[in-house]
Amino acid sequence: MRKDRLLPIFALLILLIGSVSSIYVYATQATTNTLLVNGQHYTIDQLFSLTQPRTFNESQYSGIALDDLMLKTGVSHPEQHAYTLKGADGYEKTVTWENMKNGLLTKESESVFSDLPKAFRVKDIVIIEVK
């Protein structure tokens, strides 16, 4: 069979993969009002009340300090761990303690790091896992 004859079959297969993935993503999307930080549930207001504020770029980004958040939620020997920030849409990024020292969590539950590319801005964070 000529290669270009296979193209319509590949195209249908691709549409099928895209459609099934879309259904899966829609069905598994998490909706929650709390954040699971180091194994415990908190509301964003609770986290803001117990953690030091932090701002970047002349207050363009403001929120709470991620390193202080981990200390306040009971992480010991923080430099020995990695931290995975997971969004409601499944997007996740793992960062080091050094990165956490340059990171903040906004009121909209989004991470911002002054030392990392924008790809590390996880939106609508639902879990911060300590590894």
Partner: protein, 216 residues
Amino acid sequence: MKNMKFIVGIIVFGSLWGFAECIIGSFLRDVNLPAGAIMTGIFAIGLMTLSRTTFRQPGMQAGIGLVAGALRLFNPFGGCFICSAIAIMAEGLLFDLIWTGFSLGLKKPQTLTIQASLGICSAYIVYVGGYIVTQILTPVFSSAGFYLENLIVFIPQILASGLLAALIGVVTVPAVFILKNLDISIKDRVYYPVTIGVSAICWIIVITNTILIMWS
């Protein structure tokens, strides 16, 4: 002379793509539209299909991606610009590999089914491939490092987001073939002034836009 025409072709197509990414892509992101899929489905696939069907030279689209990605680096606004630049370069390379892999005989007319299928396959693979490459390379070049599990859990979302690009590609590729049938061509006499002029305008607008945003 033919080589010169080919190189200038890479520069003009790459500049147009990079310009579109920087100016139109940034606008789409600002109004919360799925800029990545729209830019890939329309501009990336459109310009690369046009260049491929015009010059019929493997390797050209990888070069176009490099030029467009380089121009994106001059516009550090609107989302993750390093990720965008990496994705653009990867998209050019992937397009080249797909079209070379299928070794399509572009000298004879393609049926509408083949054109539409080519649009779906090219747009989807280019978009998803570019997305995956940038998800790997951006952390690799950062201080956080790359974690495979971060990518694996996000694969369904990446595969799902490519669907829009594929649906746009269904229209874009046949539209380019229709455009080609109109047999519009630039006369040799004005080829270099026009292509170099267009490329220069793209770069000047993007760099000026960057300077203006930084000053304001």
